[in-house]
Symmetry: C2
Subunit: 369 residues, 2 copies
């Protein structure tokens, strides 16, 4: 099938001829300074020996001519782009994940790095091929380092990351997973999320609650380590975990809408728990709001513990008691680890850090009467 190309309008051809848009190159600067490209390159990068006189003249000329080295070309000859670190994360949500990204990105930017985010918008997080394409795209940029939010990331993705590492790239993983570390030998920071749920459960148990519900955003149903750790905590107090109080979710991160649905479901329950743990504050806020409108009083009739300590938590209708995710610490550790590897040339064993959340008491919980 032949596509007929209409000829370009004359002015366009004309313009192309007039402005070849030759951005100024190293060669141009070298010529102007009357030195070789080698010397110019050395002067610019400060790597080889150059007399300070020629260095200055090159630098001045480069500045005047508006020269800046083409990162692409440098990359091709050089191997790795020293001043960019890529952020890999599946979802861009409207809560912790993005806040985490904000923190890390801002700090790295301040340190002079270029910090592109490779994410997938908000769908398709489970699609392996999507995840693979995403890493490939990032790795192809040859950043100095990759900081990877590993929640939801499939095992297969770590293979290219491992290769990237073997090629000399730095990779740092963090996650709010189930307390498992990623299958890759790199610096890792894990937020022990299951423990947080256990912690929330214990808090409620100590308030006298024995009938506790669980709602975990982003998973079909509370499961795995998170479920187990809660179950353990409850067992200590001789409280069972009832299956009908393990609330379901369709795996998307809609937060508010999910909270609302949860509330509606809750209202239909024959037998209601006296407390519920909700895995996200936006979700919890909507949950409480809907219940409030339905006449259920929080915390008098129902205690609620949120999660994340989101911006909304202190300012919900009833300020949310929540277990905070350590976003700041995670960002801090990521930066620290990166620094130690690039600045202090640390090349020892990968470090693995486990961070815990903590209960932040506000007003959505009360002792069981």
């Amino acid at each position: 099938m032949g596509i007929i190309q209409t000829p370009k309008p004359v002015w366009e051809i004309f313009e192309t001829m007039i402005s070849p848009r030759k951005t100024v190159t190293l060669a141009d600067v070298a010529r102007a300074a009357n030195v070789s490209k080698t010397t110019a390159s050395h002067a610019l990068s400060g790597k080889g020996y150059v007399s300070s006189a020629t260095r200055e003249s090159v630098l001045r000329l480069a500045d005047e001519m508006g020269f800046s080295v083409d990162p692409i070309a440098r990359l091709l000859s050089n191997g790795r782009c020293e001043n960019t670190v890529g952020l890999y994360t599946l979802d861009l949500d409207l809560s912790q994940r993005t806040r985490q990204l904000q923190l890390i990105q801002a700090q790295l930017n301040d340190m002079g790095y270029s910090v592109p985010i490779y994410a997938y918008g908000y769908r398709g997080r489970d699609d392996l091929s999507v995840q693979m394409e995403l890493v490939s795209g990032l790795i192809a940029q040859r950043p100095a380092a990759i900081v990877c939010n590993m929640s939801g990331v499939r095992k297969e993705v770590f293979e290219p990351l491992r290769r990237f590492q073997a090629d000399g790239g730095i990779v740092i993983c963090y996650g709010y997973g189930y307390g498992e570390f990623a299958p890759i030998e790199c610096d890792q920071i894990i937020y022990a999320e299951p423990e947080s749920f256990a912690c929330a459960a214990r808090y409620l148990l100590e308030l006298g609650h024995r009938e506790i519900g669980l709602f975990s955003v982003g998973h079909r149903k509370p499961q795995g380590a998170m479920l187990e750790s809660v179950r353990d905590a409850m067992r200590e107090f001789g409280a069972p975990l009832r299956d009908e109080w393990l609330f379901e979710n369709d795996g998307l991160l809609r937060y508010e809408e999910d909270g609302h649905r949860l509330a509606n479901h809750f209202l239909t329950l024959e037998k209601r728990p006296s407390a519920v743990i909700v895995a996200n504050d936006y979700c919890a806020a909507a949950f409480v709001a809907t219940l409030t409108r339905a006449g259920v009083r929080v915390p008098q009739e129902l205690s609620v513990v949120g999660h994340d300590n989101d911006a909304i938590a202190p300012y919900a209708v009833v300020p949310l008691t929540t277990v905070s995710a350590p976003v700041e610490e995670i960002a801090e550790k990521v930066i620290e680890m990166l620094q130690s590897r690039v600045l202090r040339n640390y090349s020892g064993a990968p470090r693995k850090i486990l961070l815990r959340g903590e209960i932040i008491q506000r007003q959505s919980c009360a002792p069981k009467n």
Copy 2:
């Protein structure tokens, strides 16, 4: 100052020697297939003429050997990276801006593009040098197109974008600005935000309100076109705009916290307005929540109109009447314009689209009694 480099540990030198990590290159494939690099390149790209026999053998070999072209190298020889479009945006917030990004990114990803986000976390939006570095970094990647969220972006940033365009790059701008288009000849989609405020004002005026307050997130104080359009709307109804009801903000995007503060300020007012327009739903939700706790009844004592139609709007304590920002339409238009330029080779005049918000009625407004 001499930095003393400790010699590398032996095993490291050893490893470097052992695994030069030669990723397979075009040359490797060509050699294996017994053809020239030219032919291999043609076979892979489908550009020149190649007999189908050799094409197939090259393709098969490439696949077997796990070859994929190095985008960096292609870029250097080729000019532009056809399958990546860069997203430029100053802030990553936890509301509309990020939602907009999610939508655009996901769609472009689905179309096969690599879509890195160049943002700055959440600080320094006013800092020109930061903004400039950000564009430079993006442009240096030579994406096929740049989609730029222009809110908050300084004029100077459009200069490099214009050069990028002159070099053959596509740039598309969108924004929730003051209805002004960006100073660059490119496709643009503007959400007429000032009109939305006027629209909100008119809605309240028709409900009988004459005493209307205004809170605009992200600006020091309501100002410019937004302020004027509200003033105009109110003048039609013979209602003045009182200066003490133009609430201040420090220019950051904290939403919930801002809403809470606004509420506290509101409670100290000698004379309260009967309605207030709040520029963001998360902010409005917190505002209403705090007021509710303070015993002010919404909408009976105070009508509130939010903005953005955020996820929280339907699920706030009192579901928020709001004027919705057209995020979906903006995403759609961006995609459309991009498609027409790359697929249908449209190269006519830049298109400028103005989109409007619309009132979504829920329960936070009531007629003035």
